[in-house]
């Protein structure tokens, strides 16, 4: 499967200039968890190519292997069979070239908001002044500039997720892997965060893999929506989303084509 999704209208440029981006690919990936109650086949022969600059949404019933897919690209697990690659390199473990945003706010409470964002550069031994500059720029990008010196537990749920996004972006990763990042937020905050994420994606130019259980969210954000079958997870639909990124606003959700696509994906999921 190659990218059939719409390429963003504005050419993606990384925050540090024109960073070289590589495609992410899964080649015949099968993943089995060895559990106490027997083995669990989580992913079954998945082939997937994500081109640089794409925003790929993934929807599927709970337990179908979405997080497993993300974890394989992040390098948290190695596939039982098949290969996961970034460019020409096989992924063998987690690394700063792939940023992860988790569903649960996952900030470190012993660090300030700024220190959390600066952690990636710090782990790579970036000099103090420079990593502070990186953190402050990203905090401004996600609208948290005034909260840089706050404790993480003083932030609301939505702000914590913004901080997580900033932290993942601080390494200027090739791809941002987001596992239901807005799943725990209230509807209003969620919609605002979706718009902010689109802005960030247009500005920062990261490739994004975005897991959600909301078809509407998947369509609103993605240049491409993958639908997965119940476990063992397979990709049963690879749907390009034709709307240009800059036309994604509230009105889009009522657009006939949007509604039609939503129905189509819903049918595929067995919802309709």
């Amino acid at each position: 499967m190659t990218a059939t999704g719409a390429i963003p209208a504005t050419a993606p440029t990384g925050p540090s200039g024109a960073a070289q981006r590589h495609r992410v690919a899964l080649h015949g990936v099968t993943h089995v968890y060895a559990g106490r109650g027997g083995d669990v086949l989580a992913l079954d022969h998945v082939d997937l190519v994500i081109e640089p600059g794409e925003f790929v949404s993934v929807v599927g019933p709970s337990g179908c292997g979405k997080s497993t897919l993300l974890g394989l690209i992040a390098g948290f697990h190695r596939p039982t069979r098949g290969r996961v690659t970034l460019g020409d390199e096989e992924i063998r473990g987690p690394g700063p070239d792939r940023g992860v945003v988790f569903q649960q706010p996952n900030l470190y409470p012993w660090m300030s908001v700024r220190e959390n964002v600066a952690l990636g550069p710090r782990l790579r031994h970036v000099r103090r002044a420079q990593r502070r500059a990186i953190a402050d720029r990203l905090l401004a990008l996600v609208g948290l500039a005034e909260f840089a010196d706050h404790a993480t537990y003083e932030l609301s749920g939505g702000m914590q997720q913004r901080c997580q996004i900033a932290r993942a972006l601080a390494n200027d990763p090739e791809i941002l892997l987001m596992d239901e990042p807005f799943g725990a937020l209230d509807a209003l905050t969620r919609e605002r965060m979706q718009d902010e994420l689109l802005t960030i994606w247009r500005d920062a130019g990261q490739t994004v893999l975005f897991i959600t259980h909301s078809v509407e969210e998947a369509l609103y954000l993605g240049t491409r929506v993958l639908v997965m079958s119940p476990r063992p997870g397979r990709i049963v639909l690879d749907q390009p989303v034709p709307f240009p990124p800059h036309e994604r606003d509230r009105a889009l959700r009522e657009h006939p084509e949007f509604v039609a696509l939503r129905a189509r994906i819903g049918r595929e999921l067995g919802l309709a």
Partner: protein, 285 residues
Amino acid sequence: MVEITGNAPVPVPATRARRRLRLPDGAALRVALRLLSLAVVVAIWWIVAALDVWPDLFVPSPADVWDRFVESVTVHDGRVGLSDAYLWEHLGASLWRIGNGLFFAILFGVPLGLLLATVRPFQVIAEPYVNFVRALPPLAYFSLLIIWFGIEDTSKIWLLFLASFPPIALSVVSGVRGIPQTRLDAARALGAGRLQLLRHVVVPSVLPEFFTGLRLAIGFAWTTIVAAETVDGLPGIGGLAWSTKKFQQTDVAVLCIIVIGLAAILLDQLVKAVERLVVPWRGRA
């Protein structure tokens, strides 16, 4: 005795904050209630002693205990304090031993706990021994320690060390095991290597549990100090308490009980204050 049960794992900050908001009457009421209950307890004690139901030897009166207290901090009949040392010297000697024992317990217990929790083969081999030492009553091995290290402070500090390192090590183990996988994954995805993970995520994550273990360890140290000071324990508050049995000075024994109790509570409060300073996020994140 140290109030270790007060350290239930759910210090709900919301209610604490709310209580603090209506602090004026609430706090004043609490202090007043506590003073009142103290007055009642002392009054009952006074009355029971004054009624002479039991001989003075069984129930020394508050006045006797007060007199011993005054003696313990003064020179009287040409003699210094009680058993040739002022009360604070007795207490100081015990605190010195406890402090040393805890120092080595932390120095040894924390790395041991980290190793137990992170190096699987090490845990398989070493954990039974830690549990074995923890299960032993300290007095069981005290005579061995005296033979190995003599009757002076070294053997006492060893005893306190052995009594207090297991809770520290085991609390660190449970702290490490309790770290959610995603918390580790987040740092690994940011590029953390093994040692960076230890330093930036594991150690800070373990701090709350460490303090729980430390307070438990201090509790064990206090229970052990009297045992440690049964042999050549003067000056020492436990040694002083133990020495009263020879001349049946129950008033001195009661004085020691009160001093040990108060010192234990104060030390526990001090550790709690340090914990609030070092782990401000406890119960909030």
